[in-house]
Amino acid sequence: MSSFYGIELGIRALRAFQIGMDVTGHNVANVNTPGYTRRRVVFTPTPEYALSPRLRIGSGVMAQSIQRLRDMMLEQRINTNSADLARLDTLYQQLKQIEGLFNEPGELGISARLNALFNAFEELATRPDSLAARQSVIQAASALADAFRNLHREMVTKESQLLERAQARITEANQLAAQLGRLNEQIRAATASGAEPGDLLDQRDRLLTRLSELVGARAHYAQDGSVMVYVDGHTLVQDGASFPLPTTLDIANRSLDSTPTDIRIQSGELRGLMDAIANLQSYRTDLNTLASTLITQVNAIHSTGYALDNNTGYLFFDGTDASNITLHADISDPRRIAAASVPDAPGNGGVARALADLRTAPQGALGGMSITQYYRNLIGRVGNEVQVSKTRAESQQLTVEHLHRLRESVSGVSLDEEAANLVKYQRSYQAAAKMISAFDALLEDMLQFVAPR
């Protein structure tokens, strides 16, 4: 009693399952592709066929759609947390490099050179008429001025590198936004035709993740399949259009200059770079304050002293801050170092002593700290900020890893899981086949019973 009906139904099921096989093949082929989202075929029965008003029979199965197994809430959390991680990690990496500029602790660092200068002043205080002691003061002061200028120059170079990098990140974000706009159009067209363009959506998700990492962009998904991307109040992508981010940075406010309101950058590498630049500027300001105080205080004391040529009013340092501190031309000759507090007293080291005492003397311009304390405090602050940013980046890394594992459990392809599912289906359908045999045997006997009539 087999019929064409059964054959058609079988062919339909076979076609549907072949789609399933293609999809599983696609999943398996992409098991190692980063950002790939597992697909699943949704099977649905085709309309029933009425044998009689009371007897209806199913007509088979069709593949209704191919779903991407994606948890959108999880995706948003991953993007937000990845943007935070990009910020913290960028800040940590940059601060680590900035910390390296200070060369502390080390013989080439400002700390060692400050001590060397104050030691030389002390030596001069005990042997004011010694040319060797005077030469030592000049060497130590010159080395210290060099260290200030070098550090300042390296800071300026680093800052300009960071600014360039920040600009590059904005440019990259703008390019990605343009790509995203084009993808939006393609996805919308495909969605309108009823298909789910899985690979385009994967590509878009990868772009979105990168945009989040760059500038902390956020996404809003529309019903027509397109996505709107924004940074703070600025719409970066809408439908097929992209609206580039401005490239003028306002580091103090961590924003990009824009009309009518500035675009505040909350996270992403760009924010990490802005934070690093702000820190660097603050360290540079402190360094300048220190150098400026040193110049002012040393000159104020030195100019009151008497040199071996019995003249007074000589300046020790020239310049205004760390960028241009040098030895003053007045002391190009070591005998012009004014060590004595009174004239005609080459054995007097009163001014040299006062200069040596600057090591521990509190300074109003430095918030009541001494010159050496202030510098130690600056180094401590740099080290502490590196450590804090490291801890925060590591902790954020754990959060992001956890979220990625969650995503992997939803969207990732697990060969074991696919195989386990298939074995489950196989067992169930094998059991079903046994029942078919039982009914078939029953029917055969019954038909033999009624057949002769």
Partner: protein, 131 residues
């Protein structure tokens, strides 16, 4: 020996009870709804056992069968046959399908074979259907 007409009426009665369950079971096979398949499978077992008992008690051939009962028996038998025939096709397809997929997965588990990030060591990408 039981009356053949009474026996056939019993058979028609049991088979009519089985038919909607069989249809629902076949539709669950179509949907690949494992939970429904297993549940309906369990519900069909008592009916199947009763039909097996009836089969064991089948009377000897008789010329006195009521044509009305006979007609009913043929109708329900035809309906059951169609259901189990279509279910059979579906089951065969499903087993073919899972068989091929398991073969594919077994091969995929061999690291470099399907991994697009590594270059396959052999040029063969033929599907091995042995599991």
């Amino acid at each position: 020996m039981r009356d053949p007409n009474r026996w056939l009426s019993h058979w028609v009665q049991e088979s009519r009870r089985a038919l909607p369950l069989l249809q629902a079971w076949r539709d669950a096979l179509v949907r690949r709804d494992l939970t429904a398949i297993d549940a309906l499978h369990a519900r069909l077992q008592p009916t199947l056992q009763r039909l097996e008992r009836l089969r064991a008690d089948m009377p000897a051939l008789s010329d006195t069968l009521s044509s009305d009962t006979l007609q009913q028996a043929l109708e329900v038998a035809r309906a059951i046959d169609e259901v189990i025939q279509s279910a059979y096709d579906i089951i065969l397809n499903e087993l073919d399908y899972t068989h091929a997929l398991i073969a594919m997965l077994t091969r995929a588990a061999e690291g470099e074979h399907y991994a697009p990030l590594s270059v396959p060591r052999t040029p063969s990408t033929l599907l091995n259907t042995e599991v």
